[in-house]
């Protein structure tokens, strides 16, 4: 496991001349799970996309291992940092292993076929995601939860020490959400992979994250451990939500219980 540092320095970005995130300073904690929280449209996805080079910063820069990310050859970055984007395209009829094997692209040389290291990486990725049995299935025919595991396996086959995930649990049933997050936690504990993800569910974030970032109107409002961050005042600020915080009886992490309007 190599050490890698990922920073945002006064980062601003947006689309079509509109600024979505501005002046964000972040230092991603190494070997930890960080979750970016914020209301819809606050810029949390844009922030993740800027980290992963999908969106060009309009100001500031992303710094990987002390160098501006734009100055590092893109295949080299691809060996350090992976991303699970929000809506990847499944090529019609593709089989699980064939799809996961595409994660090996940054390591492969022109005209050479897959080497042993490539096969091993694919095999390991499938086994970490527990989809070895599905190896020869057509991805079209899988359930949403299984499909999401296939996409994460592709990112794992890329063998990066940093993994970014843009809402990996959206559209999944609650049991699949837990399953995906458990697998990511296992990955983080066993392989020391630094994980940064955008999640919608505050309570799940509190349960799985080591570190939380709160984004509001494109700015970094606060950061800290779940215990420091998940407080009624903060929820009011970030989401405009009245709530009470109790302890999650299972994980002993903070649990948000939203307030109720009196309906007569």
């Amino acid at each position: 496991m190599e050490r890698h540092t990922l920073l945002a320095e006064e980062l601003s970005a947006g689309y079509d001349g509109k600024t979505i995130i501005s002046d964000i300073k972040m230092s991603i904690p190494e070997h930890k799970i960080s979750v970016i929280l914020g209301a819809n449209g606050c810029g949390k996805s844009t922030l993740l996309k800027t980290f992963s080079r999908l969106v060009k910063p309009s100001g500031g820069q992303v710094v990987l291992d002390g160098k501006a990310i734009s100055s590092i050859p893109s295949k080299q970055v691809a060996q350090i940092m992976g991303l699970l984007p929000q809506s990847p395209v499944v090529p019609e009829g593709i089989r699980v292993t064939d799809l996961v094997a595409r994660g090996r692209f940054p390591y492969r040389q022109l005209l050479k076929s897959m080497a042993k290291a490539d096969f091993d990486a694919v095999e390991e990725a499938l086994s970490i995601m527990r989809i070895t049995d599905l190896a020869d299935c057509s991805v079209d025919e899988l359930s949403g939860g299984q499909r999401q595991r296939v996409w994460i396996a592709l990112a794992l086959a890329q063998q990066t020490d940093i993994l970014l995930l843009d809402e990996p649990t959206t559209f999944l049933d609650i049991s699949y959400q837990i399953e995906i997050l458990d697998l990511l936690k296992e990955l983080n504990r066993k392989r020391n992979t630094t994980i940064v993800m955008v999640l919608h569910d505050i309570n799940l974030s509190a349960r799985y994250a080591d570190h939380l970032y709160a984004i509001k109107d494109g700015k970094l409002l606060a950061e800290g451990t779940p215990r420091e961050m998940i407080r009624p005042e903060m929820m009011q600020q970030v989401y405009g939500l009245d709530c009470m915080i109790i302890d999650d009886p299972i994980s002993q992490t903070p649990l948000v219980v939203p307030g109720m309007k009196q309906v007569s």
Binding site: S52, P85, P91, E92, R95, F105, R108, E123, A135, S138
Partner: protein
């Protein structure tokens, strides 16, 4: 490679690789058979022995003209154009992730044709000048289609619809130029409506061959990039691809193939559109199947030409036969698209 060299989960992967190679080899053999048939069959049937003797330089009375001047360039053009349309079509379809995004449906081929027709009928040009015009015009039209369909962010569906509109407009331009052309030019101009191998001469083959094979080689080199682009822009960037340059390069190479082929035979209908999906059916879906698509094209054109020349009661240009194949498939795709 032996089974113990790779993990068991990869057995299926290797089976599929082997199947792909098998299909490619079988297609290659079929291409060679059709090429031979194109040399053998015609008004007079020549034995393979006679053809071999003529091709190796012997002067056999009567046979030399038919074989060297008529059949050889026709056969070579059929195969090269088949490769060109098959690969270029497949490149567009895989890149844009939709079978309907074939260059002969979204106006790219028409963009090349319109310049070729203009060059031949109005400017009286010939040879490489036509090909060059076709490439430039094809690029311009493609750029225009991309630009028009950009709107609020890129959408494949919008691209296809815009392309179909542009296609209709360009085809009417071609028809108009054909109507205005002198009567003498009309038979030769006919090929611009559906594509034909009639009147292909040997002097056009070297240029066509170089362009099609070199561009084809380039596309094959970028095949793995194409497979990553298939997963969407985000994955392409994250796996380390320079999105804009790679996409542009692939489109440019496909256009070169289309433009050079179109300049020689006209837009042979539906070959670009059909080759990719047929290749996928034969050698497995979910891959780019570039080599098989090229070979399917190289089977479709000679086979259709043989049908058009020998099987049907009257002689039809090859594009009419391939067009008949393409129409039902297009309807099938449109119906299926409406359903999902």
């Amino acid at each position: 490679m032996k089974a113990e060299h790779y993990p068991t989960v990869m057995i299926g992967y290797h089976k599929r690789q082997k199947h792909y190679i098998k299909v490619t080899v079988i297609l290659l053999i079929i291409v060679i058979i059709f090429a031979a048939l194109m040399m053998i069959c015609g008004n007079t049937v020549y034995s393979p022995k006679t053809i071999w003797r003529v091709l190796s330089g012997e002067e056999i009375k009567g046979a030399v003209f038919a074989i060297k001047t008529l059949r050889l360039p026709r056969m070579l053009a059929a195969i090269l154009c088949g490769i060109a349309f098959g690969m270029a079509g497949n490149t567009f379809q895989v890149l844009l992730g939709n079978s309907l995004a074939s260059p002969d449906i979204i106006g790219v081929t028409s963009g090349a044709s319109v310049a070729a027709v203009f060059g031949i009928l109005v400017l009286g040009l010939s040879g490489s000048a036509i090909s060059l015009m076709a490439v430039v015009s094809g690029l311009t039209v493609t750029g225009l289609i991309f630009l028009l369909s950009h709107g609020n962010g890129f959408s494949n569906a919008r691209l296809i619809l815009t392309g179909i509109g542009v296609q209709a407009f360009l085809n009417s331009l071609i028809s108009w130029m054909l109507l205005k052309a002198s009567e003498y030019d009309v038979p030769s101009a006919l090929r611009w409506l559906s594509g034909s191998l009639n009147g292909v001469t040997m002097n056009k083959i070297p240029g066509l061959g170089q362009a099609v094979l070199l561009a084809g080689f380039g596309i094959l080199l970028l095949n793995r990039h194409l497979c990553v682009l298939q997963l969407g822009d985000a994955h392409a960037v994250i796996l380390g691809i320079n999105l804009k340059i790679t996409r542009l390069l692939l489109i440019l190479l496909a256009l070169i193939q289309i433009a050079f082929a179109t300049a020689v035979t006209g837009p042979i209908s539906s070959v670009a559109f059909l080759s990719g999906p047929i290749a996928a059916r034969l050698s497995g879906q979910g891959k780019s199947n570039m080599l098989t698509a090229a070979l399917v094209g190289a089977v479709l054109v000679p086979a259709s030409d043989l049908v058009g020349q020998l099987v049907l009661p009257a002689q039809y240009p090859v594009g009419v036969v391939t067009g008949v194949l393409g129409a039902p498939y297009l309807l099938f795709l449109l119906l299926r698209m409406n359903k999902s």
